[in-house]
């Protein structure tokens, strides 16, 4: 490598020179469109994986799993409606989910959800058509109810809570 033997000091000096040279090497310019396309592709691929994960667990039949989710949500709606019957009625909820905070019930676990612990959760606000809960009294007249889903980092819903105003509206319509 040089005229002199490669002692430790010389090796360190050469390593420092190589380190400096590597620092100047740049990856090819970022193709932002390609990177964004990869991100979107990956996001699209995640949904089927989550569905497959459900089917691969204790819920091997998708229809059975879907039915169980509806039943679980229905049970939760029933509980909220039942509690709502004892409260003063308020104005009906808006049609679309809003970002504004609303008066909510407590989170109720979904019996269909896996019992695996998750280190972090997201809250996703959704609007569920009442026709999904046809077996629940007070839901035959149509409309929808606003709810927050507690979603684990695996994308599976663990618990649900409802907009109290929507629940009361359902209760009043039933009476």
């Amino acid at each position: 490598m040089s005229d002199a033997p490669n002692d430790a000091g010389r090796l360190q000096a050469d390593l420092a020179q190589l380190r400096a040279a590597l620092r100047k090497i740049e990856a090819p310019a970022l193709d932002e469109d390609a990177v964004r396309a990869k991100f979107r592709d990956a996001q699209r691929l995640r949904a089927p994986k989550i569905a497959a994960g459900r089917a691969g667990g204790s819920w091997r039949h998708p229809l059975a799993a879907a039915a169980a989710v509806v039943l679980a949500v229905g049970a939760a709606v029933t509980a909220v409606v039942w509690r709502g019957e004892r409260a003063e009625p308020t104005a009906a909820a808006a049609d679309a989910p809003s970002d504004a905070p609303f008066s909510v019930s407590a989170f109720q676990p979904l019996s269909s959800s896996p019992r695996l612990a998750s280190s972090s959760y997201s809250v996703v606000r959704v609007r569920i058509p009442l026709s999904a809960f046809a077996a629940v009294p007070g839901t035959e007249q149509g409309g929808s109810i606003e709810a927050d889903l507690l979603v684990g980092e695996d994308g599976l819903a663990r618990a649900i809570r409802f907009n109290e105003a929507d629940a009361l509206a359902v209760s009043v319509a039933d009476q």
């Binding site: 490598m1 040089s2 490669n6 090796l11 190589l18 380190r19 090497i25 932002e32 991100f39």
Partner: protein, 209 residues
């Protein structure tokens, strides 16, 4: 970073911006992915280039690492180290897989020297290039320790996290790597070699330059 600093360093969560970006990626924020890619692609690229001395290899590794980020962003644990170290860990696995796949282990390494231009001319320095060639011929467990601790300037503790081994193992691998490098470079010293012998790295560079 001095030898003392590297020796004393402990794993930390690193740049909070990286941590935030990774959390946003896990939540599905596209802009966060672009931003993290922009901030950290050079780290990954340089690591892979240092390991394999190939630009195309480094480019492939970089792309694969960031695809892994999309899949595994939610698994990052800031208690175990920085996002940068986590990315090096991903890059290490991808690099080793590809090296195995391409049979690039040590002696099978083709004499692919990069073409140098502009600021990279420093690499074309014969001594530096011979050192890089020698590093690429190290057994991979010594090579990755040397690249992370010496060339990417990770602390020993961070290197240990990336390599998933005790800090003492990092130290011993580095010690062994330096000893092997010194021996390899000494053997390849043109001043000691007969004319026309042991000049393979120089010839390879001349062909590519």
């Amino acid at each position: 970073m001095s030898q003392f600093d590297r020796d004393q360093g402990e794993p930390n969560s690193g740049d909070p911006v990286d941590v935030r970006l990774l959390a946003e990626i896990a939540a599905g924020v596209e802009d966060a992915f672009v931003e993290l890619y922009r901030r950290r692609q050079n780290d990954v690229y340089r690591f892979a280039f240092a390991m394999a001395r190939s630009r195309s290899f480094a480019q492939d590794v970089t792309q694969e690492v960031f695809l892994n980020v999309l899949e595994n962003a939610s698994r990052f644990d800031s208690n175990k180290g920085s996002v940068r170290a986590w990315l090096f860990g991903c890059a290490r696995y991808v690099t080793l897989d590809r090296l195995r796949l391409e049979r690039r282990w040590t002696d099978d390494m083709p004499p692919e020297a990069a073409t140098f231009d502009g600021d990279e001319r420093l690499l074309a320095d014969q001594r530096v290039e011979r050192l890089h060639a020698a590093i690429a011929r190290l057994p991979v467990e010594y090579r990755e320790a040397l690249v992370l601790a010496e060339l990417q300037e990770l602390t020993y503790a961070e290197t240990a996290v990336v390599l998933d081994c005790p800090v003492g193992t990092v130290r011993s691998r580095l010690h062994r790597a330096r000893a092997l490098l010194a021996a390899m470079l000494d053997e390849n010293d043109p001043a000691k070699a007969d004319a026309g012998e042991n000049l393979q790295p120089l010839q390879a560079r001349e062909v590519c330059s």
